[in-house]
Subunit: 444 residues, 2 copies
């Protein structure tokens, strides 16, 4: 796989005020749970009835943990009843995307993050993990994938559907499901964030999976959600602290075991875990690989054949973070993280995301970021990573996309040159451990 | 427990060039493994013979993982043969501390981090974790504690011995061992970094442990070492990535489950995991607690009675990080982390630490840090946290401690006022999420 090539800006010169081509690298869709029945093989219907019957107890448990607040939930559904149907209705969904300025999206499961009213059968949605019953987990995933393929067949140019694939299960089934997903227009493969008691992802057992995903140009993705909740009691803070760590964990299992060396075209994206943790990992990984102070005692050949480049170079080539509700702190770190590794998202229709006030959120976070960098983070990088057809999206973006002046970036008193100049010293320091600086830099 | 009160500087005015009172909050001591026999109850001798017989296989495994490099190991032992005896010999140890400029130390187990020649019986050393055989684990810990109490009885004013206490075991035994440790002059309680299949640390089961440690003013500590190696295959990078995470994990289990609210005087310190990960945790924790964007949907009463203050306030009151080979990047983050939360260490006699070139390491990292801050990080904060008697240490420090000018901080061309001025803008931004700034700040 060649180094990522810059994509031409949407319309010539980056300094112009053309609308942004916005791709939400994190959004969600799912059927109201009971309706998944029609997509499940008949033999699983009895188990599905049991699953539905247990939903009330699950809701009670998440309320006890504090993940759900009853008052907030009531108000959320009252205020957004109609738009939330965009969680499963393609027409409404396109209308909502249009109103939000979003041309295209990478579609993860579980539209409802307040009361899990649209959850994938048998726990195979965002909580996908290696401890699911293998047969039921696959059945639930298949049901969602089949429905999702239908959803994405409406406005296919605007949607990259994420297939759920419990790769810790029987390899034959796993590969067959990836084949099915590819054949039916889905564009990425979500794997369990945690393998639990199954084989960890460094194992060559999974090489067949990585090979298939590389061949199909389907990014392998994880999403926050799965965590060892049975260890947490009813302590919400522990859950929120760790729920960003577990989905990121496969990244270093793949990197250090040489998966990106063996499959240079494989793309891995971890979503809705933020990206604020990445600078320090790149720093410590590069230091380790370079054998800097503290690493002298380690085996010099430990990385031979597995990790032949700097770890940060693999991340630049193979890894991405899908973002929801990106923070100014994170944008300030973008020269350490790598601009092209940061794929902006709305998290629609989750309340912790930017919808329905996406323009306001963009303005509040991107107002001083150079336009040419914003174009990458808001859409062009995601287009490359997930294979969107820019020619098909440009006309949509021209109609609905926010402009740099909408974001407060360009105005009569502020030019692109000035934005670039503001950040130039920060960019020059970049990954400070590779540019001879002691510290990263942020603007005052 | 009152807020930490500033301790008077070693000799009046911080701007003077008095020697630093240096305390290594991370150092190691241990007997050559076979010699632990005399400290083990006789009934465990047969098991100890088996344990010794398996050491060769363990060494082979860590070499395969890349934790050990044969060439480096050979050279290390050839060059430092005599000084390494300071790992267990008190007289040599004091001589080595003197030569290294270190007045006092917090003493963790496992003197040899190259070939584990001084490991605690039955895996109860730095790898202490909840999956040890309960009976053997406690027996090994007791053997080390009994030997360590002897070691610390030589120059007791210079040593805070860390008792090994596998708190996941029977509560009665655990409390008895803490009592024994207190009675025999040990000053801190190291708990398993990972509880594994035992009860997680948020559980009220452990309240009796926290209460005892609070009563005795013995900090509860973890140290890097334990990690789920069986998940890693022979991939060194995975191990090195995670070995700093697992020992830090108990911090947020205690914090979010209200342990620091119930035991305001309890001190928790996680050692040799660095501190570069702490700013982002404080930032995300405080944001969560404040109910900022992304947290609106969560239960408003989830923290009630458990976490009544800002998480960062608990960290300032109750938590510390023990550092080895501290990096400039970390020192640059000290106003976010909290200066008093950073306890410098040598990691003596581990090769990844600063010994035997501590002065050079101090000079390379602290050369532009204000003297009054350096005094806190190099010793005064550790003295408060671990209860060292400053009156007894001052005479030693006056003889052996490096001076600010030794560290390149004060000179004819550089004053304390200038150092303070250099960092003043960085300090003013501090924890940027609490001071109205979007980003942290580092100097150019």
């Amino acid at each position: 796989m060649p180094a990522r090539s810059p994509v031409p800006p949407i319309d010539g010169d980056n300094r112009d005020n053309d609308p942004y081509l916005v791709i939400a690298a994190d959004s969600h869709a799912g059927l109201p749970t009971a309706q998944y029945r029609q997509y499940l093989e008949t033999r699983f219907h009895p188990a599905f009835d049991e699953f539905l019957a247990e939903r009330a107890a699950v809701l009670e448990a998440v309320t006890k943990l504090g993940v759900r607040d009853s008052t907030f939930a009531q108000q959320w559904f009252d205020e957004h009843d109609e738009e939330l149907a965009g969680g499963w209705d393609a027409i409404r969904r396109d209308q909502t995307l249009d109103a939000d300025g979003v041309a295209a999206e990478v579609v993860y499961p579980d539209a409802d993050a307040v009361e899990s009213r649209t959850c994938v059968p048998f726990g195979a949605g965002l909580g996908l993990s290696g401890d699911l019953d293998p047969e039921l987990g696959l059945a639930g995933a298949k049901a969602h994938n089949r429905w999702l393929a239908e959803l994405c067949s409406t406005s296919p140019e605007r949607r990259c559907g994420v297939a759920l694939v419990p790769i810790t299960g029987a390899l034959e089934d796993v590969l067959a499901e990836i084949d099915w997903a590819k054949d039916h227009g889905l564009g990425a493969v979500m794997i369990p964030a945690r393998w639990c008691n199954q084989t960890p992802y460094h194992d060559v057992r999974y090489d067949a999976v990585w090979a298939r995903c590389e061949e199909y140009a389907m990014p392998v993705v994880t999403h926050s959600g799965s965590a060892p909740r049975d260890e947490y009691g009813d302590n919400l803070g522990i859950y929120v602290t760790e729920v960003t760590w577990w989905p990121a964990r496969p990244m270093w299992f793949l990197l250090w075991s040489g998966v990106f060396e063996r499959f240079p075209g494989l793309r891995f994206c971890t979503t809705e875990g933020g990206c604020w943790w990445l600078p320090q990992l790149l720093w410590s990984w590069d230091r380790l690989w370079l054998g800097q102070k503290g690493a002298e005692k380690l085996g010099k050949l430990a990385f031979k054949g597995k990790v032949e480049m700097l770890p940060s170079e693999y991340v630049d080539r193979n890894c991405f973070t899908g973002l929801a509700n990106v923070k100014r702190r994170e944008l300030g770190m973008r020269y350490e993280i790598g601009i092209d590794n940061m794929l902006w998202g709305t998290d629609f229709p989750h309340p912790e995301g930017t919808w329905p006030a996406t323009l306001a959120a963009l303005k509040a976070t991107f107002f001083d970021i150079p336009v040419h960098e914003t174009r990458r983070m808001l859409g062009l990088s995601a287009a490359e990573a997930f294979g969107f057809d820019l020619d098909k999206l440009r006309p949509i973006a021209q109609k609905i996309g926010p402009t740099p002046s909408d974001l407060g970036q360009l105005s009569e008193t502020q030019t692109e040159e000035e934005l670039v100049a503001r950040w130039a010293p920060v960019k020059a320091v970049g990954r400070h451990w590779l540019t001879g600086h002691d510290f990263p830099l942020y603007p005052m």
